[in-house]
């Protein structure tokens, strides 16, 4: 009854092209932003900020990047951890070698380098497709892992291969406390989510989706696969690179290539698919699922005072997690985002059954 678009007529195309054409959606988003920017910093505990919200936001961002490639352009990649790593290490190298570079610029430069690497590894996509391509993206994963492990230049000849960032500040403000870190990440995520949304609903987004859905038809209407695929790789790796830099700088503070290993890539792919391929909000849903479920699973037995050994708990967690993934795929193969939109559709016709 409350979620209706009746009576909301659009008299201009501009109005119809807003990101959220339905009033209730606009309301909702506004509310979310208010909560995120004002309420949470006031209320959330440090643990909640550091261990849940910050990783959630950064993973969402990375997932948005990956979603552009996988969900919108249809090029499955299992190597996104590599691009996060490139973003992180590139940013760090600028920080170390040119300490004058402002923090935000370092992070963006991380993105730029990730873009370059992404485009290089995107080139095979012009010939190789589908699962074959997916597996070859692992070449990026393992190569990059290797490079940061074995080429001392990238870690500024640190003997252990581990690197860490000094105290952070941006625009003269410190980025130290959990709240500051959270807000810093939040701004990045909000801005990039908006830009990504703009891209996917614009001309370039349509090109990506066209390539994804039917590449022959796309080239017949004049879309160049090279351009579409490589831009998708570029934009996607840029965002993933930025997310990688944030992950390293804000979340970890100190890291080794292991932080961006294959598990990270798989995790991102999970987020994207559980959340919903080809959906920006889906990336957030997926990331929430990914971050919350394990925390929830480790805490639940404690809450009920069930004395579970950590290893059993962790194995059960694995099982439950795997089971949930399968469960959600069965309930809705198109991810949480689709579930969400079906929910909205139901709400729209509520209380009538159809």
């Amino acid at each position: 009854m409350f979620y209706r678009e009746n009576g909301q007529f659009k008299s201009t195309y501009r109005a119809d092209q807003q990101i959220f054409p339905i009033r209730q959606d606009r309301f909702f988003i506004l509310l979310v932003l208010l909560v995120a920017f004002l309420l949470i910093p006031l209320l959330a505990s440090n643990y909640f900020l550091q261990a849940i919200l910050i990783p959630f936001l950064i993973l969402s961002l990375a997932a948005i990047g990956l979603n552009i490639l996988v969900g919108y352009c249809g090029q499955i990649s299992i190597g996104s951890g590599a691009f996060m790593a490139v973003g992180a290490y590139a940013a760090w190298n600028f920080g170390v070698r040119m300490p004058a570079t402002p923090l935000v610029v370092q992070i963006l430069l991380g993105g730029v380098f990730a873009t370059l690497v992404g485009v290089v590894f995107g080139v095979p996509s012009l010939r190789i497709r589908g699962l074959y391509l997916a597996v070859t993206t692992l070449a990026a994963q393992f190569f990059v892992d290797w490079a940061f492990l074995r080429i001392p230049f990238f870690t500024n000849y640190s003997s252990s291969g581990n690197v860490s960032v000094p105290a952070l500040e941006a625009f003269g403000l410190p980025v130290q406390t959990p709240v500051q870190r959270y807000l810093f990440v939040l701004i990045f995520v909000a801005v990039f989510a908006l830009l990504a949304k703009n891209l996917v609903r614009g001309a370039i987004g349509r090109q990506w989706m066209a390539i994804r859905d039917m590449d022959v038809a796309a080239s017949v209407i004049g879309i160049r696969p090279i351009y579409a695929k490589l831009t998708a790789f570029a934009v996607s790796s840029f965002i993933i690179g930025v997310a990688g830099a944030l992950w390293a700088y804000i979340h970890l503070g100190s890291w080794e290539p292991l932080a961006f290993d294959l598990n990270r890539s798989l995790q991102l792919l999970f987020i994207v698919i559980i959340g919903g391929l080809g959906s920006i909000v889906g990336s957030f849903f997926g990331a929430a699922f990914m971050v919350l479920v394990p925390v929830f699973l480790t805490n639940v037995p404690h809450m009920f005072g069930i004395p579970l050994a950590v290893d059993t708990a962790s194995h059960i967690e694995h099982m439950v997690f795997g089971g949930l993934i399968v469960f959600f795929l069965i309930v809705e193969p198109h991810g949480l985002a689709r579930l969400w939109s079906i929910g909205k559709e139901k709400l729209r016709i509520w209380p009538f059954p159809h």
Binding site: I342, E345, K346, I349, H354
Partner: protein
């Protein structure tokens, strides 16, 4: 019941009773469709695009699940047995096979392999298998020529023939045929319908036939249902339907007795009807 009555009123083979179908839990497509197919008859299911013909066939053959559709109301009987809960494979064993719209050949298999898969449910000897194969090749000589090509590379018509031939290999009692004429050359369309009639008369196979080509469908069918928007609008013996003025006007393209040239239409009929 005595024998003479039984002969006069053929047994009902398939009985669809007031079914509703919903896709994806929200899209209601069939809103109470009832129809029946008597044994040994050809029944045509007509209607515009999106009327729900394919959906009806899928509901019968139980291929809806794979499309995330559900029969939420009504029931479907085949030879008096409820079949909504059966798997497609069990249905095929009972003799109900669907030929899907849009061909759906196994692209990487050769034409002959495609045909052979059709006999999967039959436990038969090599000899019988070859006999079935020969029968199909007899109906579709073109397939024999191209038997060793991968079906993914064959033309649309060849794929359609493959799909029908593949269904025949299961030795069915009842075929659910979805738009067999689509994309076929006129000669082949005739041929296919002749084959349908042949199978019907010689082997007693019953057909439920979804068609856009009303003209030809009514020519070969015994009985017809017209679906519109998920409901049966009209039904009747094929002959009677072909004579009906509305049907003539809307489905046969004949108004006031003669066929109009496609060029002479001056406006869009669809719009006209909506306005009316």
């Amino acid at each position: 019941m005595n024998a003479s009555v039984e002969a006069a009123v053929p047994r009902i083979l398939l009985n669809v009773n007031g079914i509703e179908v919903i896709y994806n839990h929200v899209i209601l497509v069939l809103k109470g469709v009832s129809l029946c197919v008597p044994e040994g008859k050809i029944v045509a299911l007509l209607g515009a695009n999106g009327a729900g013909k394919t959906t009806t066939l899928r509901a019968v053959s139980n291929l809806l699940k794979a499309e995330r559709g559900d029969v939420t109301k009504g029931n479907i009987d085949y030879r008096g047995e409820r079949i909504e809960r059966l798997t497609p494979a069990e249905l095929v064993k009972r003799g109900v096979v669907q030929v899907m719209e849009g061909r759906h050949c196994f692209a990487h298999l050769t034409i002959e392999e495609n045909l052979l898969t059709g006999a999967y449910t039959r436990k038969i000897s090599r000899g019988e298998l070859n006999a079935s194969l020969d029968k199909v090749y007899q109906y579709f000589p073109r397939l024999k020529q191209r038997r060793s090509s991968q079906s993914g590379y064959t033309s649309g018509g060849e794929q359609q023939m493959t799909a029908i031939g593949r269904a025949l290999m299961a030795n069915p009692n009842m075929i659910l045929l979805d738009e067999p004429s689509m994309g076929l050359a006129p000669q082949i369309v005739e041929e296919i319908f002749e084959i349908v009639r042949d199978l019907n008369q010689r082997e007693g196979v019953s057909f439920l036939l979804a068609e856009q080509n009303t003209n030809i469908a009514l020519r070969y069918a015994d009985y017809g249902y017209i679906l519109e928007n998920g409901r049966v609008m009209m039904d009747g013996a094929a002959k009677a339907l072909a004579e009906n003025e509305d049907v003539k006007e809307f489905y046969l393209g004949v108004s006031s007795g003669e066929r109009k040239s496609f060029r002479d239409n001056k406006f869009y009929r669809r719009r006209k009807r909506w306005l009316a």
